[in-house]
Symmetry: C2
Subunit: 333 residues, 2 copies
């Protein structure tokens, strides 16, 4: 294992410390327990938005703390849920009197810990709503999940619900739009190589020299099947088929196409996937109205990508286009 780290035990703390220094204009890092908030206190009356989960998926979630997205993020240990003792103060810090929405990826540990934290925060007078993200069509139930996993759709939920909160929507309204994004997005991923969790020191799974895994999870947990290596267009087709068959968009509908890098794949390859994915969607009569391509939710240094398709409506487009100013996503301001 070769990694730019000092000690597997200090990876998350040191990384978040460096992140906080590099983005001191955007965020503030709180330690013991560890969580990240916007630099400035939330605007009175704005609904707060927080998310969190195991580390190793950067820039998710701390990279999305800032105007137009999250108010706070809670990085857990590597690929391990953060505990309620960190989620509770993050929830309280994000509350500006209008309550807080928890955006939770559907993994058993995250669900339990955010649920406990929500109860404790409610007991302290903070209203909490939860949006559970479960966009991965690859498998029902998995190594860490009952039901579908939450993957790249999370970024889209955070952006669009964040814009709704910034616009002044109330607690139920922000949760509803987050839920609507989740209901309209489907994702599926592929791994060309495994990733190595620092404290484990060995790859989290095995792939032969000419083998890839279709339907991989963002922790390297099993997908649908391992198959021999294929070309990019064939892989793209394999990822899109279950997405489209599950989402079942009608011809003429507008979609956002999101090609996400898992961490170790060059941008040039992501654009080759994007190119064919756009062709497939257009051949299905869909209109690719918005796009996102890059490393937005990763699995350490894994090689591979995921494709997400979000069915758009006018309001979602308006909220997607709204200004955002975070370390990892910025536009319009």
């Amino acid at each position: 294992m070769k990694k730019l780290i000092n000690d597997p035990k200090t990876v998350v703390d040191e990384s978040v410390e460096g992140f906080g220094q590099a983005h001191a204009g955007h965020v503030r890092v709180h330690t013991d327990p560890l969580f990240v908030t916007r630099k400035d206190a939330p605007r009175a009356g704005k609904v707060g938005l927080i998310s969190g989960g195991g580390s190793g998926h950067e820039p998710l979630h701390a990279g999305y703390v800032g105007y137009g997205m999250l108010d706070a993020a809670v990085p857990g240990p590597m690929f391990t849920s953060p505990t309620p003792d960190a989620i509770i103060p993050a929830t309280i810090a994000a509350n500006a009197g209008a309550g807080v929405v928890h955006i939770v990826k559907n993994y058993t540990g995250d669900v339990l810990n955010f649920e406990t934290a929500a109860e404790m925060a409610e007991a302290e007078g903070v209203s909490v709503r939860t949006v559970l993200v479960n966009d991965d069509v690859a498998v029902e139930d998995s190594l860490y999940t009952a039901g579908r996993r939450g993957v790249a759709g999370t970024v889209l939920v955070e952006k669009i619900a964040g814009a709704a909160a910034e616009r002044g929507d109330d607690l139920d309204g922000v949760a509803a739009i987050g839920q609507r994004v989740n209901d309209n997005v489907r994702s599926m991923g592929v791994a060309l190589s495994a990733c190595t969790v620092p404290h484990a020191g060995v790859p989290s799974f095995e792939l032969a020299e000419d083998e890839i895994e279709i339907g991989i999870g963002i922790h390297g947990e099993p997908g649908r099947h391992k198959i021999p290596m294929e070309n990019a267009d064939a892989i793209t087709q394999r990822l899109l088929e279950p997405i489209l068959s599950d989402l079942a968009p009608a011809a003429g509908e507008r979609v956002l196409l999101f090609v996400n890098g898992m961490g170790g794949t060059p941008a040039s390859e992501l654009y080759i996937v994007y190119r064919h994915a756009a062709k497939v969607l257009e051949a299905a009569g869909l209109i690719v109205e918005r796009s996102l391509v890059g490393n937005y939710i990763t699995a350490l240094e894994m090689q591979g990508c995921s494709i997400s398709v979000l069915r758009l409506d006018d309001e979602m487009i308006e909220l997607w286009d709204a200004p955002v100013n975070t370390p990892a996503l910025r536009w319009g301001m």
Copy 2:
């Protein structure tokens, strides 16, 4: 070799095609010969800025085409200079009557081809100035270079000179500020793994299981030496020492600290490097005034990073902070 590609011969064309579709709001892709311009024609009287070079370093250069940075980019074949027949029309397209600055990384092929293109463009009435970037302190002369190589400093030259052009500086002024950035920036990189050029099909160099290469170039060309793996802080120190000894900033000076990922390294590791680099600079009495962390100039899927230190002055800070709106770098608008 496992890559998300269809055919080694079509990687660049397909990738740039997908890039153009995903960023249709920013750029326009011209084919045969291949170059990328801003979507809209340049503003009359603005100095044009173009760059180019071998592909495989994405988002450099096409990712920086847009308001506040480049007017055009010329992607060559993988790790191979673009030819004058593509650089000439890109130069002409970038000309809005005030001339064009070529930003050229110091590799023999790029230097020759941009020189030829500049002469041909001048013959067609376009005034051209050239800024040669040679910020890599690792080695004098190399596999593809006489003199020092141009590496991550190129991104900073493009941003700051691009802001000067947008501000309305004249041709000599834009070239002068680009030159000033180059004169004040030094970089050095490390590889933890090699990268594989698609048409070669095998890694461009060899590293043992516990070995890293200090001073690596962005094409995997040799650096200073191979050494046994060390921790992140020690590697950071090794990269910064030659940078600081060559740049020789005085205590109290302000700098921009840029930690660049080579393509296959997780963001979390880049922030661990940033954390220690900032400490080292502060211990040397320097003020880390601005920061950039991420994959901005890559070597395909290589694992590793580079560190760049740019000595800042008031004008450079103002131009750094100025609005930019490109696919890969956006802020302030």
